[in-house]
């Protein structure tokens, strides 16, 4: 008696609707939104510098690791100078080196961080834009 009807129809359908709603949530949530991958914007100063402390591909993936190494060595070992592979020396300071060039947090940092839903607490202490008041 292979039946075509559903038993407990109401409950089963309700369950399936909930299941589908959960699964299709991303499609509905994003409906009509174009959300292209963000391009970090460079300040004139950064543009002029052409290179960061390391190459862009490395910075893209590893900047957090680099900053981690920086903060550790400067705070704990007292070494405060970073000589990059190409021989340029930089002060290992988020406030005074990184944010000096990339003083546009909203356009440079936040875009990607927001996009990737990463919320580091660097700026709780390190100043957003050291030069902005001057």
């Amino acid at each position: 008696m292979a039946s075509k009807i559903l038993f407990d129809k109401g409950k089963v359908i309700a369950g399936i609707v909930i299941f589908l709603a959960l699964l299709t949530f991303p499609f509905i949530y994003n409906l009509g939104k174009a959300a292209p991958a963000p391009e970090p914007e460079l300040t004139p100063k950064a543009k002029a510098a052409k290179v960061c402390v390391r190459d862009t591909e490395y910075m893209n993936k590893e900047h957090m690791q680099l900053l981690d190494v920086w903060r550790d060595t400067s705070v704990r070992e007292g070494k405060r100078i970073y000589v990059s592979p190409n021989g340029t020396a930089y002060e290992m300071s988020l406030s005074n080196t990184c944010l000096d060039c990339h003083s546009n947090k909203a356009e440079f940092c936040d875009r990607c961080h927001n996009y990737a839903s990463v919320d580091p607490y660097c700026w709780d202490c390190h100043i957003d834009n050291p030069k902005e008041a001057q």
Partner: protein, 544 residues
């Protein structure tokens, strides 16, 4: 056991280790003492069930019908369409192993195929092969296999080593119920005439005469009359049970085991004394039926259809006699059938009244549709409202523990009522350890039609976990009486205790109540219902 073991296997147990093989590669070994005899063809035939024949489980040839595989496949398919439980249970087991060591047969026999998960896998392996895509593509890797005579024999052997007690189901995260799977598997086996005699013959008898033993109406009455004499001697009052009485208040149905086998007979005498008391004191009229003289329903162990056929008598008789509602005696699977199946199968029950206890005025709300009340519920209500005069001290020589029978426990939830009754009729009550009672209760090892003589080893090993807990309270508190609310328990547990804990005897709830009951007009009772002297009361009588 018949084979002579090789010397190496006997003494070098230290080195000897059977080669590790998967369960599918281990053929079934039907062992003496672990199986029941094949169904008597006459019984199968009487019920009109298919493929009645003489066959022997130990023979190679089971004389199967030619198209037996087709029959099974069709039967399987039909049942998948009828029972969501089977379909879901076939699909969702993750083999987490939670059930594996919860089965009393696994614990007692040590046979790994008695792990509930494997018992179900025996059927699932065929399900995957016959009904799923992955089974067809991946074959053995997906855990599927083809149906062969070997597999069929394995099914038969292990499906009749399950007492449908549902203990594993309590622990399963998805509630997969091995009882459901066993019921289903046995239904399939019955399509091929592969029942056991300890089920088939009682079913045939019950169908014809109303009870398992095939006791004919006049003999049934004779037996109760026999109890009347006993009661007159021991209590000093003449009880007058009524039979097939039209217009009685209620119809009473209990398993016939209580009528013909000790110690169930004492429980039956307990009922009779109680009904006499209610009649004398409150004019409450309860009648017995010879037509529906069986509460137990071995059809439940055969197929849903057979269960329904046997069960139909209860409502038919209640309707014919015009009673208000039905009172049910102490029985295990009888109550699973009444509670979870009866009204669905043979209802609706508009010819009966919603059960009310006229003595206390209590409405049995939980039974308002099925209109059948458990005697423990009834007794608890009477005692709570102080409607029974009781002399607890008459049970003082007993130290009682209570065995929760599987079906009322896990198919109903009857835990407090019997304990309440026992506490009110006995002064010494001790529960067994918590993981062996209530919803975790261990089976007597003989349920679901396995209470035969020939599978004694199976029953004794299956009862070991229960016996072990009884032994504990016996040693710790001196418990000497095991109370229960199930006729199979009363039939099986005395054998079990005699082997494992000989100092402990078995009783029904109503027997304990009747022992304590002060019946109007009784003489000084010096014995219990078993005719045994009550310690401390026998001296006066000695003078005679």
């Amino acid at each position: 056991m018949s084979e002579m073991p090789k010397p190496k296997e006997v003494l070098s147990g230290l080195d000897h280790r059977p080669p590790r093989k998967g369960w599918m590669d281990t053929p079934v070994d039907i062992r003496k003492g672990m199986y029941c005899y094949a169904a008597n063809p006459k019984s199968v035939e009487y019920l009109g069930l298919p493929h009645a024949r003489e066959w022997n489980p130990l023979d190679d040839d089971w004389k199967l019908p030619e198209n037996w595989q087709e029959i099974l496949h069709k039967g399987f398919k039909e049942r998948l369409d009828r029972f969501r439980s089977i379909k879901v249970f076939m699909d969702i087991c993750v083999r987490c192993g939670a059930c594996a060591d919860k089965c009393h047969f696994f614990i007692g026999t040590g046979d790994p195929k008695n792990m509930p998960v494997l018992r179900a896998e025996l059927l699932r392996s065929i399900y995957r092969n016959d009904f799923t895509l992955s089974g067809k593509i991946f074959g053995k890797l997906s855990g599927s296999r083809k149906m062969t005579v070997e597999v069929l024999k394995e099914w038969w052997y292990y499906l009749f080593q399950c007492s449908e007690c549902r203990r594993c189901s309590v622990f399963c995260p998805y509630g997969i119920d091995t009882a459901e799977i066993t019921i289903f598997g046995r239904e399939l086996l019955n399509l091929l005439g592969l029942n056991i005699d300890w089920i088939a013959t009682p079913v045939a008898n019950c169908y014809r005469t109303g009870n398992h033993l095939g006791i004919q109406p006049h003999a049934f009455k004779d037996m109760l009359d026999f109890f009347v004499e006993d009661l007159e001697e021991m209590v000093g009052v003449k009880v007058e049970p009524s039979f097939n009485k039209k217009g009685a208040d209620i119809l009473f149905i209990t398993p016939s085991g209580d009528v013909f086998a000790d110690p169930g007979t004492y429980t039956a005498m307990g009922y009779m004394l109680l009904f006499h008391y209610l009649k004398e004191r409150y004019g409450f009229d309860i009648t017995w039926s010879t037509y529906a003289s069986e509460g137990g329903n071995f059809g439940f162990f055969t197929s849903h259809e057979t269960m329904k056929r046997l069960n139909s008598k209860m409502y038919a008789e209640a309707k014919r006699l015009g009673v208000k509602w039905i009172l049910g005696g102490e029985c295990g699977h009888m109550w699973r059938v009444i509670h979870q199946y009866m009204e669905t199968m043979n209802g609706p029950t508009d010819f009966l009244e919603e059960p009310v206890n006229p003595i206390t005025g209590t409405k049995f709300e939980n039974a308002r549709s099925t209109k059948m009340v458990h005697i423990a519920e009834f007794l608890a209500d009477l005692i709570k409202h102080d409607k029974l005069e009781l002399d607890k001290s008459r049970n003082d020589h007993l130290k009682v523990t209570f065995h929760d029978s599987c079906n009322p426990a896990r198919g109903m939830g009857l835990f407090e009522e019997p304990r309440y009754v026992i506490r009110n009729v006995c002064n010494h009550f001790y529960d067994m350890p918590a993981n062996t009672i209530r919803e975790q209760t261990f089976c007597c090892g003989s349920g679901s039609g396995l209470n035969a003589g020939e599978d004694m080893e199976l029953r004794l090993t299956g009862a070991l976990p229960r016996a072990n807990a009884v032994k504990y309270v016996h040693e710790k508190f001196g418990v000497n009486m095991l109370a229960c609310v199930c006729a199979i328990d009363r039939a099986a547990l005395p054998t079990m205790t005699e082997y494992w804990v000989p100092e402990v005897d078995v009783t029904g709830l109503s027997e304990l109540v009747a022992n304590a009951l002060i019946v109007p007009g009784q003489h000084d009772r010096t014995t219990d219902l078993r005719g045994e002297d009550l310690p401390g009361r026998e001296e006066e009588e000695d003078g005679e």
